[in-house]
Assembly symmetry: C2
Homo-oligomer: 242 residues x 2
């Protein structure tokens, strides 16, 4: 499995993904789930993938293969809206489905990719989409400013309590890291290193892309202090007296 988060804020976008893939218990590997395209002054696109790794890589490769300065056909670097970019991702999902789903089914492998696409194209505001296995997709709004894919449940409560559109980029990144920490603690199939990417509205280039491994001091601080503080708050709440 994997766990990825995309958050749409008034200030911009935050993306976080883990890098663990597993086929059963003994074939555990590290593969990045985050791909981004950064054309300064024109566009930033960030794609996160969850589900079967071969399918995810297939989708990314279909998208990359279409990018060419010669072609007039739409691709990720010439479309004029994030909506059109999400449509391209949906089409790539369907192309890989058409190619692989039948064969995978014969081996009992489900065609189950889900993706998050976010970013900004010059002329638009930042936007965030999640794309389903059928190639259809939905867009984040101020009411629902974040998407998760993969092992989403362990880390959802803290996002539900903290994330609002008005939250700052740094704070949203902190919340995403806590959400990731809760997930890693409760689920073996999600693991370090992490990819964290910040995008500040209208910058039209990636602000910050950090790879977080077990030696990252900030993440280590989050891990230990969050757990400690949680236990302290827990102790401070009165016990029930029925």
């Amino acid at each position: 499995m994997t766990y990825c988060i995309g958050i749409l804020l008034d200030e911009g976008l935050v993306f976080l993904s883990d890098s663990r893939t597993n086929a059963g218990m003994d074939q555990i590997n590290t593969f990045r789930k985050m791909t981004f395209w950064d054309v300064p002054a024109d566009r930033v696109l960030v794609l996160l993938t969850a589900g079967n790794l071969a399918i995810g890589q297939g989708i990314v490769n279909v998208l990359k293969a279409k990018i060419s300065p010669d072609k007039s056909a739409p691709h990720l670097l010439n479309v004029t809206s994030l909506f059109d970019a999400a449509t391209l991702v949906g089409e790539a999902v369907r192309e890989v489905h058409h190619r692989d789903a039948e064969s995978l089914k014969e081996f009992g492998v489900e065609f189950n990719p889900t993706l998050i696409l976010g970013g900004q194209i010059a002329g638009e505001s930042p936007r965030l989409f999640t794309i389903y296995s059928a190639g259809n997709f939905i867009e984040a709004t101020r009411d629902t400013p974040y998407f998760q894919i993969g092992e989403a449940k362990y880390g959802k409560p803290i996002l539900d309590r903290v994330i609002r559109s008005g939250v700052g980029l740094d704070e949203a990144a902190k919340c995403a890291l806590i959400s990731m920490d809760s997930t890693i603690r409760s689920n073996l199939s999600v693991g370090l290193p992490l990819d964290l990417l910040y995008y500040r509205k209208d910058a039209l280039q990636v602000q910050q892309h950090v790879s977080i491994d077990q030696h990252n001091l900030y993440f280590e601080m989050i891990r230990s202090r969050w757990g400690e503080q949680l236990r302290r708050v827990f102790q401070e709440l009165p016990n029930p007296q029925w």
Copy 2:
């Protein structure tokens, strides 16, 4: 769906279950998922069920139908160990599977019950089991002192951080309620009222069985203060500076 927790402590046992069942989005009902048998000075058995409601009720009814003072066949009130009681629950699961699984499959309904059985029978220590759809089961130990069934993921992180065998009954109940609150906030298919049951080791009768609805002051306090404190702790952690 549903969400139930059973916790085995040095001091005894704590059980918590919700009561929401849903068939799709528009057929939402309230059914208790907790059944208990309390024979003072002899035994306390508590059974929690998750999965398809008809299957869960079927299993409970098979178990109840077998209880009779006349019969020499083993039933929940005459077996001499919790292990034997778990075996009976597993057999009841298999009986319902034999009766219903084929017909359910024709309608695309999965046979998916999971159960938690805990309690104490005179002569033994308190024990806690979880029983799977195949009728097999495992027992909680000091290393893994709790089981969850149903929508378990949202509420798992706080249990992982707090629950140890040495935790007191009240504290464990508080933790279970916070875990339930996180689940209810993030998942529509889990809802009030809750059944909370305390069992103190060697009491051989139920200590406390509380039904918690939206007017319960303690749960209301937990809901508001836990969220508040969590946000405060979150604010106090420094933001990342990369």
